[in-house]
């Protein structure tokens, strides 16, 4: 778990610097402070399981085992990126590890999920698919349709709401009637639990149980992981709408520190290991950045590639 877990903060922290240094085009939505969710979720998954991610998906891709180099190159808009520079931060994907894509349209993954589950059922494998979405996205229709359909099909889908209590500048209480997303599961006759998203182990336990049910043919579950977004909604967000105290409070629950403390407490890490891991991570991240920096931009005409598989009239 350390291996999947640990890397996630560092890349976003560095991506942030690089964004402000003008090295990264477009918008980026970072998940610093929310690592407990990405780590806890992916630690409960196999490499061949699937993940449908969000606009805030860098950490999800890393935790799922995607290539850090190709991720970094993608958000730099380089031809060596996982999407050849066509997607960017909001549309990263790495099918080789089952990461079926970030999404620029909120909650859309909720309706793709049951279909991925159906293909698992019809192909007869024991894979599962996790659908990640934010607390704001949970108020879109596809959440309702996707959860209902998955439940009807008893599809191997795990819905994980990453509740950081904000949807851009809009507070959770002002967007979610009733206040609880987990509570909405009951209406579909599926398990719904809320967990401390800053506790990677708690997230892992809840997801592992949901995955067990899903693999066993008992259908979907809904997990609401409560966490804290330490940074702005996207880089450049002045966050005028939000008390500083909120983030300070969040920092006291640093999911990475808590995970490390637990591992040390359980004597799963000796004193030297954290430093070694940190070094290894830094090296990996710097290598990925160097790879991205040194990679070429795509040719302009590459914009005309990759639309169709079968494209005999291409260019005409």
């Amino acid at each position: 778990m350390v291996e999947e877990g640990a890397p996630t903060p560092a890349p976003d922290a560095r991506a942030r610097e690089l964004y402000h240094a003008g090295r990264i085009p477009g918008f980026i939505h970072l998940s610093v402070g929310q690592e407990g969710v990405a780590v806890g979720v992916c630690a409960a998954l196999r490499r061949d399981d699937y993940l449908l991610s969000t606009h805030r998906g860098h950490g999800h891709l890393i935790a799922k085992g995607g290539s850090l180099r190709r991720l970094m190159a993608e958000i730099f808009g380089k031809v060596t990126g996982c999407c050849k520079g066509k997607g960017g931060s909001m549309h990263i994907a790495d099918a080789s590890v089952g990461y079926l894509g970030a999404n620029g349209v909120l909650a859309s993954g909720c309706v793709l999920g049951p279909g991925v589950g159906l293909s698992i059922q019809i192909r007869g494998t024991d894979q599962v698919v996790v659908v990640l979405f934010g607390d704001g996205a949970a108020n879109r229709g596809p959440f309702h349709e996707g959860v209902n359909l998955s439940a009807l099909w008893r599809a191997p889908v795990v819905f994980v709401c990453e509740n950081n209590s904000w949807a851009s500048t809009t507070a959770h209480e002002l967007s979610t009637a009733g206040g609880s997303i987990a509570a909405r599961a009951a209406g579909y006759g599926i398990p719904g639990v809320a967990v401390d998203g800053n506790d990677a182990l708690a997230v892992h336990a809840a997801v592992a149980e949901a995955v067990r049910r899903a693999r066993g043919g008992d259908g979907p579950s809904l997990i609401e992981a409560k966490t804290v977004r330490w940074l702005g909604h996207h880089e450049g967000d002045p966050q005028a709408y939000r008390p500083k105290s909120e983030v300070e409070e969040g920092r006291r629950q640093d999911p990475i520190a808590r995970l490390r403390a637990h591992l040390e407490g359980a004597a799963l890490l000796d004193a030297a290991q954290p430093a070694r891991v940190a070094q290894a991570i830094e090296a990996e991240v710097e290598d990925a950045i160097a790879f991205a920096e040194s990679s070429p931009l795509p040719e302009p005409e590459a914009a005309l590639d990759d639309l169709f598989v079968h494209w005999p009239w291409k260019g005409r």
Partner: protein, 323 residues
């Protein structure tokens, strides 16, 4: 060749493709009994409920789940019930299905077919009568076809299902019970190949789906007035067989474009530009268009008939062009 009606030809295509490829499944509302157009009738008996799936009334999830299935190994054929309801799954079609392969740099393929029963008739009213194909022709990443005969319906649907990319097939409600010859042997119709439904020398009528029948009717009436009309059916709009249009215009130098949908920002308007772009010097007269007035579809028969594009308008337009 055996006679078969349009709906049965589509049903045959579905059976042939489901037998050929175990990854193919159908999904939609009330498709097990084949309600309302009987196209999926009998499939459940042969292929079972796992491959012929009645869905709840959740268009976004019906279409979205099909994308999820398509990118992970299945080949969905979605029954949109009425094309009007694609509006309830618009993000899934134009942002997710159309763009995913491209945005992900070609990592995934999306082999799915959207069957779009559409069109005016029988006082179905404002929410069950619309021609919406223009929106999808305007959306890069989708292939779009519109059969006009049972043989084309079968051949295009089979091609759509085998195509590794998303294909929309617009099936006009009024054609389902129209009969035509369908080859006994399995026959595919490639996308991007127009078909000359009637040869002529004086004027080219470009039409798809139901309007092809109207165009042929018009050609009969024009023949009586000594005007020889050629009826060209593009059969697919994306890709479009530009060469076939150019060849016909080079022969006739006059063009009428007939469609059922409204005048503005429509497929017909676009085809008019395509013809002008590639055949400007061949044109002896401005391109004439037959389309619906820019209003929704009214319920009451006299008003519905008034907004229904028909052969008479094609005749009038052609006669005008010959002056």
């Amino acid at each position: 060749m055996p006679l078969m009606d349009f709906g049965d030809a589509l049903n045959l295509a579905l059976k042939e493709e489901m037998r050929r490829d175990g990854r193919v499944y159908c999904i939609g509302e009330d498709i097990v009994l084949g309600v309302p157009f009987s196209v999926t009738k009998g499939l459940a008996e042969e292929f079972g409920l796992a491959r012929v799936r009645n869905a709840p009334i959740s268009e976004a999830a019906i279409v979205g789940s099909s994308l999820g299935a398509a990118i992970t190994g299945l080949v969905p054929v979605v029954d949109m019930h009425f094309a009007d309801f694609v509006t309830c799954a618009m993000d899934e079609v134009v942002n997710q299905i159309a763009k995913s392969r491209y945005m992900f740099g070609g990592q995934i393929a999306c082999p799915l077919t959207l069957r779009m029963p559409y069109g005016i008739g029988k006082s179905a009213g404002g929410h069950h009568s619309n021609s919406v194909e223009a929106w999808f022709v305007n959306t890069p990443g989708l292939k779009v076809c519109m059969p006009s005969t049972p043989a084309d319906a079968r051949g295009l649907l089979k091609t759509a299902i085998r195509d590794p990319d998303p294909v929309l097939i617009f099936e006009h409600r009024a054609l389902y019970r129209v009969q035509g010859e369908v080859p006994a042997e399995e026959t595919l119709v490639p996308l991007g190949s127009a078909d000359v439904k009637r040869a002529g020398t004086d004027v080219t009528v470009i039409a798809t789906a139901r309007m092809v029948g109207e165009a042929l009717l018009a050609a009969e009436m024009l023949a009586e007035e000594g005007i020889s009309a050629e009826v060209v059916d593009p059969r697919s709009l994306v890709p479009l067989d530009r060469a076939a249009l150019a060849a016909s215009v080079a022969k006739t130098h006059r063009v009428v474009i007939a469609e059922e949908g409204p005048m503005r920002a429509s497929v017909g308007a676009w085809l008019a530009w395509v013809v002008m772009e590639q055949s400007f010097d061949e044109l002896d007269a401005p391109i004439a268009r037959v389309a619906a007035p820019d209003v929704p579809i009214p319920f009451s028969p006299p008003m519905e008939a008034f907004v229904t594009a028909h052969a008479g308008q094609i005749v009038a337009a052609a006669v005008e062009l010959m002056k």
